[in-house]
């Protein structure tokens, strides 16, 4: 599916929040990566590491403090003309985490799904609008009769599918899925993931898939980025990352995945990290992982590491890893 055309380019993106006097929370700090057309880019990291902020900054819910996001060559945070901005919001869509909070409880499913159709004037008549909604509902496995229901009459999985139908209503090329399955039952997770995969094949979608469930990310992603405290720690193809993790944080993270085989599970060796994640407010200039890293050196406490390409397509930000040829 993946041809090597870059659809989304994130360059040194920063998003800081001011919290009180002289205190900045660097939610996203100097993050760079590219997403190729047609692929699924997984983004993992523990709670509070800035995954969702990154997603929301890319889709312009938040402005950028620094750096840039280019979608198909267009810098999304620059001042855009109304038509350009409109076109961007049609091509980039988002699926939200909480299926209970992401649907307006006072609107019927018909109007929820048609929101994008209305905002972009995609339907010429009320009849056409209704037909489009019914088609979308069928795409996500719901029926015509559901269009006149209120969201609270649906189960979590059904609601999440309504959210997907809403995102699809404007025919996007790129969808940011912000933990779309973490609020669902395991049995329903598979249903939603399979739906997302099917839609990707049918409509040539590109996903930025934010999650903290590592096995699910391994299953769905072509490439994976690991975030820690607002910066990207490691970035590689899904297979490479899970077979050959280079960053100490990724190693610890992967060693925490439980194995389904009880014998293997017992003999599994875990890298247990000492301490807890430091507060992201007013971080010193250093490798953010140095306080918990089992291999930290003096250099790590003084200087933030740069991303280097350790192997072709495998990027890592750690002082211990040198780019080949250096």
């Amino acid at each position: 599916m993946t041809d090597n055309k870059v659809i989304l380019q994130v360059k040194n993106l920063k998003r800081y929040f001011n919290v009180g006097k002289n205190q900045t929370l660097k939610a996203v700090d100097n993050v760079s990566f590219e997403v190729y057309k047609g692929e699924t880019f997984g983004l993992v990291g523990e709670s509070g590491c800035g995954k969702s902020t990154l997603g929301r900054t890319i889709i312009r819910l938040y402005g950028a403090t620094g750096g840039e996001v280019r979608f198909d060559g267009v810098n999304v945070h620059k001042k855009l003309s109304g038509a350009q901005s409109h076109e961007l919001s049609r091509r980039m869509q988002m699926i939200f985490q909480d299926p209970y909070a992401s649907l307006n409880p006072r609107m019927k499913v018909m109007d929820i799904v048609a929101e994008g159709i209305d905002a972009h004037g995609l339907a010429k008549s009320a009849q056409e609008r209704a037909q489009m909604v019914v088609d979308l509902l069928e795409v996500v496995g719901l029926q015509e009769e559901h269009a006149n229901r209120f969201p609270h009459e649906f189960s979590g999985g059904q609601r999440q599918r309504i959210g997907i139908a809403r995102a699809l209503s404007v025919n996007p090329d790129f969808i940011i899925a912000d933990e779309p399955i973490s609020a669902l039952d395991v049995s329903i997770q598979a249903q939603v993931i399979n739906l997302l995969k099917k839609l990707q094949e049918q409509r040539q979608l590109t996903y930025l898939f934010i999650a903290h469930d590592l096995s699910m990310v391994k299953h769905i992603s072509d490439r994976v980025g690991v975030m820690y405290l607002g910066s990207m720690a490691e970035l590689a193809s899904s297979r490479e990352l899970f077979e050959n993790p280079l960053h100490p944080y990724t190693q610890a993270l992967l060693s925490a995945i439980p194995l389904p085989d009880p014998d293997l599970e017992q003999s599994r060796s875990r890298v247990v990290l000492e301490g807890s994640i430091p507060s992201p407010i007013n971080l010193p200039e250093c490798c953010h992982f140095c306080s918990r890293c089992p291999k930290a050196t003096e250099l790590c406490k003084k200087q933030a590491p740069e991303m280097v390409e350790a192997e072709p397509g495998h990027w890592v930000a750690c002082h211990l890893i040198q780019a080949p040829g250096k």
Partner: protein, 308 residues
């Protein structure tokens, strides 16, 4: 030990799950209005309140028209008459028919209350919504304005207004509306602050929905419960304020009647002719209690999540 029972394999039949049936919702499909009405009907107190209010409002509109007396005609031959067939609620110190005066007074009290509620809705909701949506400096300035308004006692504003405006309905409406919307603005602001970062509002932004649509389709409908209940409480409190102003003598002037004026007149002769106080007092109590109960019932009925 439980007895072991053999169930032969052939008794098992494969269940057929209809694909359409799987996602089926059994509940009948209703429009929002039908649904709200159904739930309001289940609340007995609210229905009774609604009925009483309808009767009072009809009487306020048609009572004075169908009475053979007017509220200002005096009849010095029949002062302080008790309730009788000729004068249902009796007559006052000038022989004016109390029945006509009470409904005229109710009419004026309700007029003031409804005007106050609309101003509340209009200014309060807009102010609160704008303040919450823009946030930052705009919000800070708007909140200071509210605090200043809250700081000035309402009575002083009314007395000052009386010096520049003639005593009458509109002066009272203006006086009520200078500070009356503050509560509504604060409630709406709080609600919208809570709503504006909810995922469904973010989803609307991502879809490219404009600010106007977000306010009208997402924020206001989800604030309706708060708005309705507050408007329903504004009405009795406006009636009460008007009654209070008339009672202390800075409200409506004779021969105009409002419920407050009538209560004031009745109170002065309470020991000899208690009926002059009791009838307007009963009407004002009914109006206030019924609006409160109905407001409560409406809030529940308007919320689609509340249905069983």
């Amino acid at each position: 030990m439980a007895q072991k029972m053999e169930i032969p394999q052939k008794l098992f039949v494969k269940a057929v799950v209809d694909k359409d049936e799987r996602e089926h919702i059994a509940r009948p499909n209703l429009t929002a209005f039908q649904d709200g009405w159904l739930r309001l009907r289940k609340n007995k107190a609210a229905v009774v309140s609604l009925a009483i209010l309808v009767v009072i409002i009809l009487l306020a509109i048609f009572g004075p028209i169908f009475s053979k007396y007017t509220f200002y005609d005096t009849d010095y031959a029949h002062t302080y008459n008790g309730p009788s067939a000729a004068h249902l609620f009796g007559t006052d110190q000038f022989g004016r028919d109390q029945w006509a005066r009470i409904w005229q007074g109710t009419r004026i009290s309700l007029l003031i209350a409804v005007a106050a509620a609309f101003i509340d809705l209009f200014i309060g909701v807009t102010f609160g919504a704008v303040s919450a949506l823009f946030g930052g400096r705009v919000d800070a300035v708007m909140q200071r304005i509210i605090e200043i308004l809250v700081g000035i006692p309402q009575l002083i504003i009314v007395i000052l207004l009386m010096m520049v405006m003639p005593a009458g309905i509109w002066t009272i409406v203006v006086a009520l509306s200078i500070t009356g919307w503050v509560n509504m603005a604060r409630l709406v602001r709080a609600q919208i602050l809570k709503l504006k970062n909810q995922e469904f509002v973010l989803a609307a932004r991502v879809l490219g929905t404009g600010n106007r649509e977000i306010i009208l389709k997402h924020l206001i409908p989800n604030t309706v419960g708060v708005i309705v209940i507050n408007a329903m409480f504004t009405i009795p409190s406006a009636i009460f304020t008007e009654a209070f102003l008339s009672f202390i003598g800075i409200g409506l002037a004779e021969p105009q009647a409002s419920l407050g004026v009538l209560i004031n007149n009745g109170y002065q002769v309470l020991q000899n002719f208690p009926f002059l106080l009791i009838f307007p007092a009963v009407v004002i109590v009914l109006i206030m209690v019924c609006f409160s109960i109905l407001g409560d019932g409406l809030r529940d009925a308007l919320d689609p999540r509340m249905r069983q």
